[in-house]
Symmetry: C2
Subunit: 310 residues, 2 copies
């Protein structure tokens, strides 16, 4: 068997990097030649994580076949448009994920392990346990970071009842204080001042096909929503340019306050009526407040999916 790539989604976040890094390690312990790679460079939060645990960033690959790889394992995603460029030409042999399933198809049976939990890293943690493989400190640190990142330190409604115990155990193995390390890590991801508007709208962005529309949903974390809104003009310019060059029907930006767990939604595109209906709010000057919303997966995408399908 030749080498297998393990990777998370495009625009990788800490869970995409953590879950793929951890799962590739586990597969190697089980005798599989697996390499964790990435579909993009780490964001600032993930860069903090990698630096903290002295792990090199997984190398960025453009396609699998150009590297002589024909079999891949996906972590933290399954939708093809969020995956590697030649996903349709390679065999997906495994998926470890915690998202909804869409735009995913295989020719052959595969191993698929999806759980509606806080992070893909939580599932990888369980798979270490099931296989009786010890989790080294760096792997524990990266898995923990994936879980903290995706659940905003266990505060997001995506947090599963089983996640707090996973976080505690991983923190112990990683040798960190959960609260202290978690806040430091999340804050590292909120430094937006050094980002251009083009970079900002692409830090954590995914495309969803909703009833034939390509809808881009991006999220940025901050400790002060008004700080980000002060740059609204240049952000809108970047969004409109991204819509035009990528053919998106809509662009939804979640500006998420990680301290108070709310989001401001900034939306531009052809279906703002559907977006307003999805969240039962009225956009003023293209944005509106969404109280208690921090999770794209649970509090934004399902609502958009339903609204676009009417």
């Amino acid at each position: 068997m030749s080498k297998i790539f393990v990777f998370g989604h495009q625009n990788p976040d800490s869970d995409a990097i953590g879950s793929s890094y951890g799962y590739a390690y586990l597969k190697r312990q089980l005798g599989v030649e697996a390499e964790a790679v990435a579909l993009g460079t780490p964001n600032e939060e993930t860069a903090f994580v990698l630096d903290y645990f002295s792990v090199n960033a997984p190398r960025v690959v453009e396609s699998a076949q150009s590297e002589g790889v024909n079999q891949v394992i996906l972590t933290d995603h399954n939708e093809f448009q969020q995956s590697i460029s030649d996903i349709k030409d390679v065999e997906v042999i495994e998926v470890v994920d915690h998202h909804r399933v869409a735009n995913f198809e295989t020719a052959n049976p595969l191993m698929m392990r999806l759980e509606p939990v806080g992070s893909a890293s939580s599932i990888v943690y369980r798979m270490f346990k099931e296989n009786n493989v010890e989790i080294p400190k760096d792997v524990a640190g990266l898995l923990l970071s994936g879980l903290i990142s995706d659940t905003l330190l266990l505060k997001s409604p995506t947090t599963h009842a089983s996640d707090p115990a996973v976080a505690e155990e991983l923190a112990r193995l990683a040798g960190v204080n959960l609260e202290e390390y978690g806040l430091a890590m999340l804050k590292a991801g909120t430094n937006l001042s050094s980002k251009s508007a083009e970079e900002l709208i692409d830090i954590d962005a995914k495309t969803f096909e909703l009833n034939g529309n390509q809808v881009r949903v991006a999220q940025v974390n901050t400790v002060d929503i008004s700080d980000v809104l002060s740059r609204q003009a240049e952000i809108e310019e970047a969004i409109n340019s991204s819509i035009k060059s990528n053919g998106y029907s809509d662009f939804v930006l979640m500006i998420t306050d990680i301290l108070n767990s709310n989001s401001e939604i900034l939306a531009l595109g052809s279906n703002t009526d559907k977006i307003e209906k999805a969240f039962n709010f009225v956009l003023e000057n293209n944005h509106a407040f969404l109280k208690g919303a921090v999770s794209r997966k649970k509090q934004v995408v399902p609502q958009l999916t339903e609204s676009f399908n009417v």
Copy 2:
């Protein structure tokens, strides 16, 4: 939480019935109000199984919502066109399956447990073990039958390295001799003389969407291929009528010799060139021999998928 339906695919076989019956039992032990239902009446093989273990056939339902059920668990299938009529209007909260993934989509994250093993029943068996729930004799019998049916008594190439041990343990719990019971059960499914041609082509049939074509792939088990071919004229008439009334582009019938593990392929429709290319054979009088082929999933559907996608 209101009641949840657990069911296998349309035209249920022993694995569809066995895995749904077993998994619904497991969910109930875990405190979930789950009922195993079926999307059709048992075939002769499954009727033998139910009778042997004194289990009533799960009741047949047409839709979930008409029964006041909004959440469902799929076993032994994931493709929507093989599922309940109102699958798109209900929430799929879990899938336990061993097939390829296609035409499957959810709005929300879910529990998905797919493994490339011999039967969905094998996976359900493992989930009992993981949850430390004892497997009663009737459940063991039905799970065993699902595994025997799908792997033709562990002879099909779909048999996974882990399946023989599963079969042995289930046979022990069910109180049967694996070989004796298995052969008796499989032979019960080969009695085709009482079937009309219309019934015969529908005993175990699934529709696959291949590059925009609706391709029907049916399979019948026999101990004598020539026996079935002696009825070719009436079978072809039934197939042509089924193609016309259901809008299939093609109809592929596998006539499988369960003693010698070969199949004769009878194919009618608009893309026989693609079907010949898929199997690298020439149809004569609409049929051709496919040596060693017993598995629709592993030896027929992937080949068709590739050929239709060119």
